[in-house]
Symmetry: C2
Subunit: 452 residues, 2 copies
């Protein structure tokens, strides 16, 4: 026998039940995107490497899956180049295309390519796999889905308000309790400016983030290690010990940042969003959190991150406001705000909390056992009727032993087993076994749709 | 300005309206698969090249997209090998993985890998993209979707009957009139055997297929060119001039093939299927067609092909019965029957016949114009209510000129435009413009859901 085949490490097969659960996740997110007016687009799995390279840093370039050119990919390469064995350099000769690494760069490329066809503001969502040649580990795959919604071409803070509503609707649909954390890049810039270290935003944010774990003194020590002097650190103290309601926090920050234009702007933005969101009864808590440091090179205003409350897991959703999506492709001034849902982590949370709806099983409503040719013909007629009413079902295809057919019914997790034997044929009936309760009954064939 | 970015040739971006139409196609096919008890699976985009190579012939190996190994892919390759510049040989050193070429080989690999977890008979469907490094041309892409359903682990002809019902339900759902053509590999084998040329199945089938175009004499001449002697050709004549109902055709073939065991088996199979299908009122015609030659190396029983009646286009669906899905991976005896729907061609047919349902637009039900901050807040509240009722809508995010907002409404193809200005705020009303009829009305804010 040949060697049992396998799949590349870091990739996955999805069995029917996993698919049913994943489809539940995608369709829930998709439905919310659609309710808020986002339209779906898709981009090719492959992009030109010139589109992808240099967009994710040096490390990212290495993590791109590159596709070898068809035909004679050695053309135009000298023997010396070949013998140099410079893997990265020669990859750019052997390969013109790569698999997409995220949905953001392809979206930026899409906006630039189709700018004449798009009606701005453009609200798009995209649910597609991405690929990264990362070292696979638990919970980290080389192929995984991203679910992104972005609105580009509008500076209105109403968009941030709607993003928060979307996050809230997605997670309340899933019945996952979350904390929606919000920060603002402008506040962070204001803080760094105010203490006289405008280039230390990241260090400050990372240090603040450790407060709970290592305590105030250790944080101060760390800040000084990063070259922030004692006077600056003491100015930071109100931030480090920030507490209270969102409004209380904002008041403290506001007075601290009164001398910084950008900081004051950040406080105003946050306050507008908190005020506007009060018009809606969110199911989850929205919290100002100055420790959010995601995408600091990219985001320019609000930053969002979502944490599940009942499961220990990292962020399960995140996003923010950016000012320059398409500058890398020579089209400046395209600002927007976006949100990304982590389908794989949401899958883990739903599994751990066992929150899937009953029908996310990928199973069927009814299985007819096969007792012979004539009986099957009769079963198929009833099945045709049920299917025309949107009820899924099947006939066991072979006249196999009862035990085998019933064990298939169990394995498939069907709701009802239907039996038409010679007696049922004669009497125009069908015997029904409810697989959930184990109860059995005999009903008229014409009544079969009343089961559902 | 940087060069405008582009996408690799043979690939496509899908705009919102195209996506809405594609989603309509996929969801229609998916719904039928589910009604018939098929469960969805997914396999990784990448497979090991050892899984893919040699499965699609020599030409197919060249059309595989190969993914360059990460890290130092020159390791273990000698200078001599490198300088040989043997593109195909070195590809197998540089690359361990490739993009899937179809859904059949990955499915076979899946069945072998998961045979202990699967409940047989196993009914799976799969809707995923495949990639081929083919020369792109009109209607042929390097990335395209396949929609396959297969049932493995059952020899029952009931499965063929259900496949035909599925085809009929898919195309009647689309309102595309089709001819469902059926052939049987065993009949073709019986014919070749009967005329004494068992190895000439393909030549005979291809020649029969030309009858309409080139006439009887030319077909006979072509058969003789292929080394089939005059006596054999004259034995073939009843097949060449076959006409009448399916049953009439079967009677002629039956008497001609009475001396061939395999041929007689093929006739019996066809007759069983035609008889069983009479229990169902098919919307489309099922026709015995001996010229079907698809997958002759692969199929062993029934062969199906579907042609659209009102549009000139090739086959839009096809499938058949096979005896040995997984032998290539060392697991013999897995027989099954499958069907594949060509989403891209169905898309072209629906476009040409303009058969999309009205709601396959990717648009929203209502757009609120933005007349200022307070008015927007009021609009967002109504939107929250509508969305909780499953109605999609949005607020134009900026307080832009009316003309700009209305031209966005037009471009988006929204159904209703809602306006809340100061007067409407005061009176608790909302002005509605029906974009289909152009009619305008004023309704109470609490009545807004009655629009839908």
């Amino acid at each position: 026998m040949a060697q049992t085949p396998s799949i590349p490490k870091g990739t996955r097969d999805f069995m029917p039940q996993e698919m049913a659960r994943r489809n539940y996740i995608f369709s829930t997110i998709r439905k919310v995107f659609q309710l808020f007016g986002y339209s779906q687009i898709e981009t090719p799995s492959m992009e030109n490497l010139s589109t992808l390279m240099g967009k994710y840093g040096e490390e990212g370039d290495k993590l791109l899956f590159k596709i070898q050119n068809s035909g004679d990919y050695f053309k135009g390469i000298t023997d010396e180049e070949l013998l140099s064995r410079n893997a990265l350099h020669l990859a750019s000769k052997f390969c013109e295309k790569g698999l997409r690494y995220d949905l953001t760069v392809p979206f930026a490329r899409f906006v630039v390519m189709h700018r004449e066809e798009i009606a701005f503001p453009f609200k798009r969502y995209q649910i597609q796999p991405v690929w990264r040649a990362d070292r696979p580990q638990k919970g980290r795959y080389r192929e995984f889905y991203q679910c992104d919604a972005d609105l580009v071409g509008s500076d209105s803070l109403m968009n941030e308000v709607e993003i928060i509503q979307m996050i809230d609707m997605v997670f309340s649909s899933f019945r996952i309790n979350v904390s929606i954390k919000m920060n603002n890049r402008k506040i962070l810039a204001g803080i760094a400016e105010t203490i006289g270290c405008p280039d230390k935003i990241t260090d400050i944010t990372v240090a603040i983030d450790k407060l709970d774990k290592i305590g105030l003194d250790a944080v101060k020590a760390e800040l000084m290690e990063h070259g922030i002097d004692a006077a600056a650190v003491s100015k930071l103290e109100p931030i480090l010990t920030l507490s209270g309601s969102n409004e209380q926090k904002l008041q403290i920050i506001e007075s601290m940042l009164s001398g910084s234009e950008v900081g004051t702007k950040g406080v105003e933005e946050c306050r507008f969003i908190f005020n506007a969101i009060q018009n809606f009864s969110l199911k989850n808590n929205l919290e100002l959190d100055l420790t959010l440091a995601r995408g600091l090179n990219y985001y320019t205003g609000a930053i969002f991150e979502v944490k599940a409350l009942d499961v220990e897991i990292g962020s399960i959703s995140g996003g923010g406001r950016y000012d320059n999506l398409t500058g890398i492709f020579g089209m400046p001034g395209v600002s927007g705000v976006g949100i990304s849902f982590g389908a794989d982590r949401i899958y883990d949370v739903l599994n751990q909390l066992d929150l899937y709806p009953q029908d996310a099983t990928g199973s069927i409503s009814i299985l007819f056992l096969n007792l012979g040719e004539q009986e099957s013909a009769c079963s198929l007629k009833l099945l045709a009727q049920l299917r025309s009413q949107g009820i899924s079902g099947e006939l066991y295809p072979d006249n196999a032993k009862m035990k085998k057919q019933m064990s298939y019914a169990n394995a498939r997790g069907v709701r009802f087993v239907a039996i038409i034997g010679s007696q049922e044929m004669e009497q125009g009936t069908v015997s029904i076994k409810d697989m959930a309760t184990g109860s059995q009954s005999v009903i008229g064939q014409s009544e079969i749709s009343t089961l559902f």
